[in-house]
Amino acid sequence: MRALDPRLLRRTRSARPLLTLDTMLGAACALAVLVQGSVLALIVARAFQGAHLRSLWFDIGLLVTAFLARGALVWGMEMAGRRAAWSVLSELRLALVEKRLRTHPIATDGTDSGEVTAVAVQGVEALEGYFARYLPQVVLASIVPLLVLAWVAIVDLESALIMLLTLPLVPVFMWLIGRYTEQRTRERWHALRHLATHFLDVVRGLPTLRAVGRANDEAAALAEVSERYRVTTMETLRVSFLSGSVLELAATLGVALVAVTAGVRLVSGSLGLQAGMTVLVLAPELYVPFRRLGAEYHASADGIAVAERMFALLDAPADASTPSTRTTPNPARSAVRLEQVSFSYPGRTGPVLDALDLELAPGETVALVGESGAGKSTVAALLLGLLAPTAGRISVGATDLMACQADAWRRLVAWVPQHPTMFSGSVADNIRLGDPAASEDRMHAAAALAGADDFIRGLPDGYATLIGDGGRSLSPGERRRIAIARAILKDAPLVILDEPTADLDPASVTLVSRAVRRLRAGRTMLVIAHRPELVEHADRVVHLRTGAAVSEQNRRAA
């Protein structure tokens, strides 16, 4: 990614006023530096001519004031720049999260939530320096040198010309940065990440290594990998640090040239001491903005490397559908039909579903059975509109599901996923996800129907017990029953149950299947299962084989 990528610049729109303020403060700061240098030269020149300290107090006070003004301006810059940066960062972070949530509720690109979180929190934060310092510095690097040159030219034109002559080194430096540093930084970043992953892998596998008696060998391997990385990194650094040195050379050489020529001209009497001293003090300031630009670029290189990943996530095409009709068909009145539906994950070979036909008549309970990997859970995700079929059509009555408002459709579907998530909050909060407005009584009734009321009342704080991250941990059976209570509370005409009894002990299986039977009444239901307990109650059993050849068997008829 380029340093001034338009995608990054576009994101700064809302923070432009603050960034402008930041830049103006920076320019004011440069002016303070010019005043400071000139006053310093004035004091030195007057003292040289024998002025007494008493007559110089005013000038010394002015010098201190210039420094204090710089201090205040630098402080203001820090505040304005970082405030601007953080408003951009917040926007980016929320855009990223909303994008994932609304268009990729199920990650089909193999990105796990940990990675997205890392990009949204640490990754986005790595861009702080970019927005707070680098971007303002880009503007300052084009204003301040002109300011310095103009000021010096007023004092002594010849010195200004010498300084101007050293400036062509700057584009050379910029070119070098663009040419080497950027790519090397990226390579180094990748190498470093690889190294960290390797280390993590080894530490994670330590018990295994000990069990097979290889723990010692691995320490040596670890040392060797780190050493190899050091050697290759140092090789690249030898080149990429050169670019910084070129600018440093321009700066020190410029100062030395100005000092020596000014010295010679002073001897000949064609230049006064005050002018010579002013020029000398100000000469280094010409290069400061460029050096700072280089430093800020280096400091935000990590962020820029992460930005690439961030935009890949932000600009990913949507998995879910885009609506085109306002009517929402009701599964209580119309049949839900999958016609020749196929689905395959991008980048993976072979479809998960291949030309599947399936019909759910209103009020019917259908059991979907098949091996793991046959695509059973994918069917659930497709029916919920969390994924869009790659081919074929899902319809409710005469309406294509993909054309419906996803939100409105999902209000008619209740779902108990295979591994229900407990969100951090109380048990009641978690059940109320099914209907946030539900009364206490209705919520308790739903829990009772799900066979969850008893164990919930046995928890230390009953329905107010905190669960989820950092709260009390629940067994898989308890989680499942809370998820069923959620689905009951939602009271939707179509219910999808994904392996509701998998991994449960026999007692829990009995409780859960009893809850499922109660839930059936008056609803269309799709039960994904391999256990006989639930399949028994189905009106129809559909066998799904990998690929999707489907055989149906009507229980009632059999």
Binding site: G50, L222, T252, G276, E371, P420
Partner: protein, 561 residues
Amino acid sequence: MSGTVRSLLALGEAPRARLGVGVLLGALTVLFGVGLMATAGYLISRAAEQPAVLSLMVAIVAVRFFGLGRPIIRYLERLASHDVALRVLGRVRVSFYRRIEPLAPAQLDGYRKGDLLSRMVADVDALQNLYLRGVEPPLVALLAGAVAVGAAAAFLPAAGLVLAGGLLVGGMAVPALSGSLRARAGRRQAAARGELSAELVELLRGAPELVAFSGEAARLERIRAADSRLVKLAQRDALATGVGDGLGLAVTGFTVAGVLAVAVNASAEGRLDRVLIAMLALLALASFEAVTPLADAAREFAATRAAGQRVLELTAGGAAVRDPDQPAPAPCWPFTVALEGVRARYPNQPRPALAGISLSLRPGERVALVGPSGAGKTTITNLLLRFLDPAAGRVTIAGRDLREYRQADVRRVISVAGQESHLFSASIGDNVRLSRPEANDRDVEAALHRARIWDWVQALPNGLDTLVGEEGRELSGGQRQRIILARALLADAPVLILDEPTAHLDPSTASALMRDVFSAAGGRTVLLITHRREGLDLVDRVQTLPPGSAGIPGHTARRRR
């Protein structure tokens, strides 16, 4: 220097000579800058007296020398300090690894929680900054500052004194103030960041359900709130940073003014040659380059120290399991394995993990140990591999207590395959060969064959060289377990422990795996630890581990093979 820092430096095995070179080059970089400005100031002032140009030659040469020398020294300094950081990174990793090696997994809380482990590894990696940010900048500031002050004092003692005072305030008081302000904000920021991350992970993991239940708007609101808390704290940090930078400039201003004042005064009184006024002022101005980086360094150092503290706490305990001084000879046939009234407890855990269990495995016998999760099944594996010593009772092989053998000898007798076995991000071949590095491709092939996965491996375009991905992510659950099994089979140990090999597998995959496992096990003693039904029909005996295994000996049911 505090004990923490000293221990951390020991962890990195400080490459002292290289560090010294880095500090020296760092100080020289600053001093060359000081030299350039000071000699240039002298040159201009002296030139104003209009002497013969030749008498300025020394000053001119000095200006050019400092001007040309500084970029070169700076370049060398950057290389040297990055080299030290990279060396330290490698050493810290290795010595950390060596320290936790005897502790894993029994003595490390939360070892199985992936994110805790990643945080630990990130903490270790952060220690590379210890030198670059923690040790080098103060030493550079001290050295360069001392030389600059000495030089100023040589010309005018009062100027040296003023500069020393200014550098002390600028290098210690300002970073300390800004550092303590930032540290407070920083701690709260880290907490807020953690909260936001936790909210985000939860939101994204639960995304399908939130969307399906239209609950995403409420959750996004929580994210927004967590984010704005973080933003507020960042602004407080900006305030503290700004105060530090601003005060630094103010101190510089007062110091330069002070040096000017004493120099002007001394010159008026005839104690100082007037050509030295500019030199002293510019020397003072340039020498603040030595202390400016200290404010940032102080903050980074605090963060690094906190990371280091966590690392040290983790490895503070020392290994509980040790080899005996006079080990018994390696166990030999018959390899009867037994637990006799064993109670076990993990360090820092209030409740015992296992309260009184007895179990005996005769050579060639196949026993299943079943029980719900939390009954202490994995603890039995840890005891048998001697990752953990029993709190009471004893574990024996061939009649001798495990504590009498060398750990390596015990682990040659017992090999484990199961849910907790790790697949490294390497090739299939490497992962299998791990248990017997000297094995050739044909041995590996044979092991994979017996694990009934050779046909699949052979059909892959890269065969044995196929990469399995991080934690074997590229493979299915069943494939992972079979490769782990092949690894255990290749070790060719007489006792095979299968620790929840069917976890997360669907019933038909699980049954197929169990059939293949038992046919591959041959005449080995097998202990199958499971909470599922698959495979129970293939063992000689099933022993039940009651929930919590609260001292009740498990009842045994006989089965036919």
